[in-house]
Symmetry: C2
Subunit: 297 residues, 2 copies
């Protein structure tokens, strides 16, 4: 029962820390210990938030409506619940926590960045040196991306590493968002050779805004923020015996590098596209090496 | 940009308080001041929560899926986003904050409780002494509810107060959830007479569980909690010049009084149903007076 009157000092509400304890203590003995840890912290922080700002019923209901709207707009092509978290920095934060925990023993690793909502499991495997653009738009600039995957600790090249690559087209859309792009356009999986090398042609990436029609967009407008993600390429790298890496690399010349609207940029993930001479297939060259951490034995 | 390395002491993540500040500072100059206050606190608490429990990407994504599912199940007959907040005590807390702020100057008021998702604006006005049950189930026990609405400070009776009353049937369903109940069953609006009196026949309320098929139910199961709300009657009281009151009264004999799954019970809202003699229309009597606070001039 919501007993009151025990925190007369706080005039904002009769429901003080005793009330929060009551909600937490309602969890039964068969609650999974990790879930109990998470819910104890979540309930405490939510209640403290409400008390700190003296959140009113109307303000809370506006938040509930936002959450319900996010779910109603989400489907297999978009995820507005995720996007709301992203614009508040939550996906970048939990990504960093997860990767930091997984790689605590190692250093010198390639940094992680968020997966985002546009990954697909079903990338086709392509030969090194081939292109992921089956449908190159007129305003695109092509780039040749290449490098090596190595063990971060020893420098040993890692053969047979799988690198999933994906990127948006110049209109800011991933193929599953865009009826005008071919299925699986701007996606591919590459396997490193004996010396850990991979290579592919892709678009030099371009900045794009988040979708303008959902609750995340409404929140961005209310917070007087811009909608743009800096130009980036996603990848996910897997080698048996090593921690999986999910990350993004960012064009260091992009004007949104310093203020990504989903806060995914880390300084070490900014890369330089250099002019490429004598290749009719690409005007830019990007060399990028990937350093993975071994699993603990 | 997510600058790191500035909080070496915290091994859980490279994204410490500086990162949180960056997200908060992304709000532009045209942000409404109250929204800025709310979002600053919300972002801080969400980030602290993630760092406190070292929330992983998979755990976060399970939360996102829960939120999206809540939206997808919500419609004009149910509100799962609200229900998730309710089982975490959030609606009771913000209701109390709101009512406390509105009535700070007064004391001796009838306590507030949450509105819940089943209120309807379109209650019919009924005469005092009539029944709200147009469809009484066989297992119901009828009660005669009556009392006075007064000014909490002066004791003056308040005439022409509007009292909206609503309750669930004995199967635990409100009429809009239940195709077998008549439209507007177990709802009514009553107007107090010159002496502030109201009276009506209703069901002696019975405990009921929350819906078992949504994300709120899944969370309750995961937290090893029961699903029940104690037996209660809702009402909303309006008189010009007085603070609106939204509350619920609870049968003090109900076994769930001490552990309402949405934490809405306050001790002063527990009431006693007494045996009623000589009235063929009701076997229980409930006298309940309502004390309202005047608006500040």
């Amino acid at each position: 029962m919501a007993t009151n009157g025990q925190n007369g000092a706080d005039a904002a509400t009769t429901l003080g820390p005793e009330f929060t304890k009551e909600v937490i203590n309602s969890m039964g003995p068969n609650t999974d210990p990790r879930l109990r840890e998470i819910m104890t912290s979540l309930i405490g922080h939510l209640h403290d938030f409400a008390r700190d700002v003296r959140l009113t019923s109307d303000e809370w209901l506006a938040g509930v409506n936002m959450i319900n709207w996010a779910g109603q707009m989400s489907n297999d092509k978009r995820n507005e619940g995720q996007l709301i978290c992203d614009i508040l920095g939550m996906e970048s934060l939990v990504d960093d926590i997860t990767y930091t925990a997984a790689t605590k023993a190692s250093s010198n690793l390639t940094a992680s960045a968020i997966l985002g909502p546009f990954y697909r499991e079903d990338h086709p495997v392509l030969k090194n040196g081939s292109t992921i653009s089956s449908d190159t738009p007129k305003d695109a600039q092509m780039a040749y991306m290449h490098g090596r995957v190595t063990d971060a600790a020893t420098g040993k090249p890692l053969a047979n590493a799988e690198i999933d690559v994906w990127q948006a087209s110049t209109n800011g859309l991933y193929e599953q968002q865009d009826p005008d792009q071919k299925d699986l356009n701007l996606r591919g999986k590459f396997i490193t050779d004996e010396e850990g090398r991979y290579s592919l042609y892709c678009l030099r990436p371009t900045a794009y805004p988040l979708p303008p029609d959902g609750p995340a967009a409404q929140m961005l407008r209310a917070m007087d923020r811009h909608f743009y993600r800096p130009a980036h390429i996603h990848f996910l790298v897997r080698v048996p015996g090593y921690k999986q890496l999910v990350t993004q690399i960012f064009d260091r010349d992009c004007k949104y590098l310093e203020n990504d609207t989903v806060f995914a940029v880390k300084p070490e993930l900014a890369v330089e596209f250099k002019p490429r001479k004598g290749d009719p297939k690409a005007e830019w060259d990007l060399e990028y090496d990937i350093k993975l951490g071994a699993m603990e034995a």
